[in-house]
């Protein structure tokens, strides 16, 4: 997935970096797992939680949401938002919850291992 996320406060040339495959999905699912939420709020939440480091572009967010919904990891329904306007709220399905659990564990393991190697001494390698 050619998702990129802009990191704020840096120079334009450096602020684009590729999120590893599937990472955005993971972030989205994590945010959605906290309760029904609409697309705009998801973007806001990721931005806040990452302390403004990550800004998810609409062009990446919505295709990802639609794909997750198509894969039946998310379900959606329309209801009034906090401003009173109708918005599309996403929710994790049972399948999505299971998927999130596995993927989070995988991610943790992967980053641990990668970190281990990157920080390891020459002798350790």
């Amino acid at each position: 997935m050619d998702v990129y996320v802009e990191a704020k406060g840096r120079k334009k040339t450096e602020d684009k970096f590729d999120l590893p495959q599937g990472t955005l999905d993971l972030l989205i699912m994590r945010v959605v797992s906290l309760g029904p939420i609409h697309g705009y709020a998801i973007a806001q939440r990721i931005q806040q939680v990452s302390r403004e480091a990550l800004q998810v572009q609409q062009g990446s967010l919505y295709p990802a949401l639609h794909r997750l919904e198509y894969k039946k990891l998310l379900s959606s329904h329309w209801k009034p938002s906090e401003t009173g306007r109708e918005a599309k709220f996403y929710e994790l399905t049972a399948k999505g919850r299971a998927h999130l659990k596995i993927e989070s564990e995988n991610w943790t393991r992967l980053t641990d291992v990668v970190g281990l190697i990157l920080k390891g001494t020459v002798e350790g390698l």
Binding site: G39, Q57, Y62, P63, H66, R67, Y70, A87, K88
Partner: protein
């Protein structure tokens, strides 16, 4: 939600997507406003951050998984729209391809039903037909497959035990069915068969039973099995017929069964519908059954447990070698040949049908190439649009898909039209060619429909991909340049079309050559001299049942009375009797030798034998060359005189006068004196005249005769009066095979005419398409070069030289195609050699004519655009940019 449902809820999904994104947008704007930015500025900033909202939607659609279907639908919609914009082009393309597809599907239907479908018998793949053959010199080469004598057949059956089961049929039998219950008497085609014939084929009767071994004995009661159509037609499909008796040749036969409707029997030797079957051993005279020289039977065998066909044939050849050693007579054949029964049934139809299918294939190919050419031209005309789209990031694949969508629409609509045409075509074919075996079962079925679908897919891919291939190569910049200022534009693309044209012209040439050869064969055949004038001659057959006319005197008396009364009819110029008139079949042959030339054991020579009355020669118009014809009193015991044909005189009496010499029938021992020599006739239009002997039909055991009536006016009008005379003499006698000599000629020439006309039609279509292609490419080139030509004219180029320039440009592919086509024809025509009559496959005149016609058409097709180019007004041309 399945993708299918998503597709159908397309509208709703789209509006939801729109609402969702809009909500996001508005929320973002609202946040900005809250943080103190003015609303207008907030919107602008948000829009900047958002990027293209349509792009986001597109990616979402893609992720949704229905895009491929949606885009196909869209491509098709575009395709329909573009095609509708040029109705002329669309109509031409559709009609051209529909003709091609229709012809192919129709021919394939025929090929499948006649050549490919297994015979309607049990395990038909194991059924074979076995014939005799004679490898010794001097035997007529016209047929490597000869019918079998009962003696050999019996020995074969013994020898093949455990390898194959054999059944015997003698299909050239006829019976007179007596008038009964208000029905007219009728003469029917019948066959004798051994009792195991139907079980061997695995045919179950529709009604009653088939023969048992007990029916198939000389002393058995008379039984008959009827064909379905005869039962329907004469007995109204009455099931109570089983067990009743019908009168055949004035004797009662018990009807024991009716064959199923789909049953049919046909071989290369016999393709007339057999209306009744009788058991062989009961019907055939004993003398015939122990005989090795009288070849009256066809053998059908079923290969048993793993025996292969060559093994069986080898075994039988060994047997036949023994037989010919034991019976060293010229009429005993020395070898055996055979073929799968299916090949036997479709004998003589295989090559022509495959040739026709190949011809229709060529037409379709040409049609596809034409449509591809047209699509290329349209693509080329839109080169700038394509280049711009390309520059803006339109994928190449997308462009190919659009071409394919267009060709899909064209192919599918022409396929549907083609199917309709094929349906009509098949109906016509069935109607026009009742002579073909299994023709009554021809219909369009699932396999044919799949064939049609395959043809449509092939057309789509062929036309679409060629067109697409030529557009994809476009270099963006050069395309943009080309269509603006470079004036030799579009030449590379035309190169592609030219290559297509070469192929197209080549195929057309092959078709034209084939058509030319077939047409010439047909013309040769129509020009064949039967040996007699064919106009205003009516022939009709009467046959006297042996039971009622057991003594020769009775037959002679009847015939004499009959012909005298026919001659007395007003308007009849001359009338005669003959056993078989010219052009109406083999009629019978015998081995004869010249008495004056030596010992009785000397090998005789085969010749045709005919019975004739004294008036026959004048009536049919065979010229008397020397001596005399029969006299009225040369009848019965005094019927031992003969008139021979010129060919017979040449063969039997090379350097002497045949008059007064004697011929002996090697089979019966009868000796006849030659009293006259008459002109040659042909027994079949495409067969060479055979040596023929005529002897008096009054005597010599003739109970069947053909009445020949010659008049100065329409001979067909005598059918009724003559039938009346016959009914007057004996109300139970049927009259059969009523036709004029010209009709019978026409029916035998039918297949030649049919092939020639069809292939000529295809060749004509191909020629028109090729001409259209030539014209199209050149016209396109001229349009592309308008500016250049304008400049040339402005600079003083002569119009005549311009014409020559353009003309050579256009004629090149035609010349090249012509060369390719002529070379290809040289090899291909050999394949249709068996369909030709008296025509060499490599006929220089035909090849030259085809070359001439093609070049003429090509010049005409190219002249129009060339002339138009020379009329270009330089000012106009330059202003056009």
């Amino acid at each position: 939600m399945s993708w299918l449902r998503r597709l159908f809820t397309h509208k709703q999904l789209e509006s939801e997507l729109d609402r969702e994104l809009r909500f996001h947008f508005e929320s973002q704007v609202a946040d900005k406003v809250r943080s103190g930015i003015a609303e207008g500025e907030a919107r602008r900033l948000t829009r900047l951050e958002f990027g293209g909202i349509e792009q986001i939607k597109e990616v979402c659609r893609e992720r949704r998984g229905t895009l491929w279907l949606e885009s196909i639908a869209r491509d098709l919609r575009y395709g329909v729209r573009t095609l509708r914009r040029t109705p002329g082009f669309t109509a031409i393309a559709v009609v051209v391809m529909a003709l091609g597809i229709g012809a192919n599907v129709a021919l394939f239907t025929v090929v499948r039903n006649i050549l490919l479908k297994p015979l309607p018998y049990h395990d038909a793949g194991r059924l074979v037909s076995i014939y005799e053959r004679d490898l010794r010199p001097g035997h007529p080469e016209w047929s490597p497959y000869l019918p079998v004598d009962a003696g050999s057949a019996k020995e074969w059956q013994q020898a093949a035990q455990g390898m194959a089961e054999m059944a015997f049929v003698s299909p050239w039998q006829q019976y007179n069915v007596s008038a009964e219950g208000g029905k007219l008497p009728e003469r029917i085609d019948a066959a004798w068969c051994s009792w195991n014939f139907f079980p061997l084929l695995g045919v179950e009767p529709a009604l009653g039973r088939v023969f048992s071994a007990d029916d198939d004995r000389p002393d058995a009661a008379a039984t008959v099995v009827l064909s379905y159509s005869f039962w329907k037609q004469r007995y109204g499909g009455d099931p109570a017929i089983i067990g009743k008796s019908i009168w055949l040749n004035s004797s009662p036969y018990a009807v024991i069964g009716v064959l199923p409707r789909q049953f049919f029997y046909s071989t290369k030797m016999w393709d007339t519908h057999i209306q009744a079957w009788t058991p062989l051993m009961r019907e055939a005279p004993g003398s015939l059954l122990a005989n090795y020289e009288d070849h009256e039977f066809l053998v059908t065998a079923r290969l048993l447990n793993g025996t292969t066909f060559p093994v069986l044939i080898d075994r039988l050849r060994a047997v036949q070698k023994r037989i010919v050693a034991a019976h060293p007579k010229p009429a005993v054949h020395d070898s055996v040949a055979g073929m799968p029964m299916l090949d036997d049934v479709v004998w003589g139809y295989k090559t022509p049908l495959y040739a026709l299918l190949a011809a229709t294939g060529c037409v379709l190919l040409i049609a596809c190439m034409n449509v591809a050419g047209l699509l290329i031209a349209r693509t080329a005309a839109r080169a700038r649009e394509q280049a711009i789209r390309n520059a803006l990031g339109g994928g190449r694949l997308r462009l190919i898909r659009e071409r394919l969508a267009e060709s899909t629409i064209l192919s599918v609509s022409s396929g549907l039209l083609g199917l309709a045409l094929a349906w009509i075509g098949v109906r016509w074919l069935v109607h026009a060619r009742q002579d073909m075996p299994r023709v009554e079962n021809i219909h369009i079925d699932g396999v044919v429909l799949s064939f049609a679908a395959g043809a449509i897919v092939l057309c789509t891919l062929f036309a679409g991909l060629i067109a697409a291939a030529s557009s994809v190569n476009t270099r963006i910049l050069s395309a943009l340049h080309e269509s603006s200022r470079t004036h030799t534009g579009g030449r590379a693309k035309a190169g592609f079309r030219r290559a297509l044209l070469v192929a197209q012209v080549g195929v057309t040439v092959v078709l034209l050559v084939g058509a030319g050869l077939l047409l010439r064969s047909y013309e040769r055949l129509c020009g064949v001299d039967l040996g007699v004038p064919v106009d205003n001659v009516l022939t009709m057959r009467v046959s006297l049942p042996v039971v009622q006319y057991s003594k020769p005197e009775q037959c002679v008396e009847f015939f004499e009375e009959l012909i005298a009364r026919v001659r007395a009819l007003p308007g009849v110029n001359a009338a005669g009797l003959v056993s078989t008139p010219p052009g109406e079949g083999w009629g019978g042959d015998d081995v004869m030798s010249v008495v004056e030339h030596g010992s009785p054991n000397q090998q005789g020579t085969d010749m045709m034998v005919r019975g004739a009355d004294p008036g026959y020669f004048r009536a049919i118009g065979i010229p008397l060359l020397s001596g005399r014809v029969f006299r009225g009193d040369e009848r019965l015991q005094r019927a031992n005189v003969a008139v021979i044909s010129q060919a017979a005189a040449r063969v039997f009496f090379p350097h002497e006068n045949p008059i007064g010499k004697h011929l002996r029938d090697d089979f019966s021992g009868q000796v006849v004196e030659v009293v006259g020599v008459v002109g040659d006739t042909r027994w079949y239009p495409s067969a060479l005249p055979q040596p023929t002997l005529y002897w008096p039909i009054y005597g010599n055991d003739y109970s069947v005769a053909t009445i020949v009536v010659r008049s100065t006016r329409d001979a067909a009008s005598f059918a009724l009066p003559v039938e009346k005379i016959v009914a007057d003499l004996n109300p139970n006698l049927p009259v059969s095979d009523v036709m004029t000599l010209r009709e019978s000629l026409h029916s035998t020439n039918l297949s030649y005419e049919f092939n020639a006309v069809l292939v000529l039609t295809f060749a004509f279509i191909a020629l028109v398409l090729a001409a259209a292609g030539l014209y199209g490419v050149l016209a396109y080139l001229v349009t592309q070069r308008t500016t250049e030509i304008g400049i040339r004219i402005a600079l003083g180029a002569q119009r005549r030289r311009l014409i020559a320039l353009i003309l050579t440009d256009g004629l090149w592919p035609a010349l090249l195609g012509l060369a390719v086509g002529l070379v290809a024809s040289g090899t291909i025509v050999r394949l249709i050699a068996s369909m030709l009559y008296d025509t060499q496959p490599l006929n220089v005149a035909i090849f030259a004519t085809v070359a001439g016609v093609l070049m003429l058409i090509a010049v005409v097709a190219c002249l129009v655009p060339a002339w138009r180019a020379s009329r270009i007004d330089p000012l106009q041309a330059l202003r056009m940019e």
